[in-house]
Symmetry: C2
DNA sequence: GTCCGAATGTTCGATCGACTAACGTTTATT
DNA sequence: AATAAACGTTAGTCGATCGAACATTCGGAC
């Protein structure tokens, strides 16, 4: 979507689903650009952040905690390991597992990414007043909650 | 994103960009499912609607008006033409061009898609009060406007 | 009239996030 | 010991979006 022009208002442009999709695109572009300016992408941030929160863990566990699919974890960890931001070591007590841990360079990168991320949020919400920002995140949270409950995120139903 | 579980709140889940992306995903899934239940997808609706609004036109013009990339127009028109919803005829006055027009079957399909679409908006916004819905679309429109102005949609600057 | 730039339709490919399928290895259960 | 389950890995699919290249055709400048 780069176009439009010509004198067409387009009938779908007022639909909530369309507005959501478009603003989400802008948001994602902003954040993606912010990340790529430091040589990273979304999965990198998510994995580094998860790693800092839960400490060293196996790829499967990190996948569960970060919501990154197992098969994408492989590539993500490869990329981060290549950059020395993360270490992959075999688990001595379970030879199936790798234990992934954050290096200090990884921690520094995480700080950078968080800074960019915060800047992007601000750029994203620039035209909104603090109250509007508050209301927006509230309403979005409510929507997200509703649909997560009935669709995604099993969140261990009976446990 | 099917996972999560494990007892991790995840630090990015409150970020506006994340909330936007996730709710947009839900919205897109809803609409996409609605469309595919009639054997269509997003581009089909957009093209059919554009076609009804602006009448028969060349692929390039339709692309500009619908915001669909030229290279994707080809496939979209192919699919719609295969289903008999649209007709592709050479322009006698310009042999580069095809003139695309809506068939009556296409118009009927458009009606169906619009109905589904309306239902999906309702399902999407289900947990929100009318006032909240109003506010949400307003805020999103404001955001979208802001970012379209400074990024996408040139909308012929000097014309 | 001819020539060059632009528009048009088309094909191919790349991206990014999400997800499926299959497979070999290793551990746990029975 | 046999079977089930978990783990890591590779290799794909998919949908939405976009870029690059190309041949054809048109239009305007000269």
């Amino acid at each position: 979507m780069e176009n439009s022009s010509e004198e067409t208002p387009a009938r779908w442009e007022g639909l909530p689903s369309w507005l959501l999709g478009q603003t989400a695109n802008h948001a994602q572009r902003l954040v993606g650009d912010g990340f790529s300016s430091v040589g990273a992408r979304g999965y990198h941030y998510r994995l580094l952040a998860t790693l800092e929160e839960s400490g060293p863990a196996s790829q499967a566990a990190l996948g569960r905690r970060s919501g990154i699919h197992l098969s994408d974890m492989v590539a993500t960890i490869n990329e981060l390991a290549d950059r020395g931001l993360v270490e992959r070591a075999p688990d001595p007590s379970d030879r199936r597992r790798n234990i992934i841990s954050l290096t200090s360079a990884g921690k520094r990168q995480l700080r950078r990414l968080e800074k960019r991320l915060a800047e992007c949020q601000d750029e994203l919400l620039a035209p909104l007043s603090p109250e509007e920002r508050q209301r927006l995140t509230e309403v979005l949270s409510k929507l997200l909650d509703h649909h997560n409950r009935r669709t995604g995120t099993p969140e261990e139903p009976g446990r």
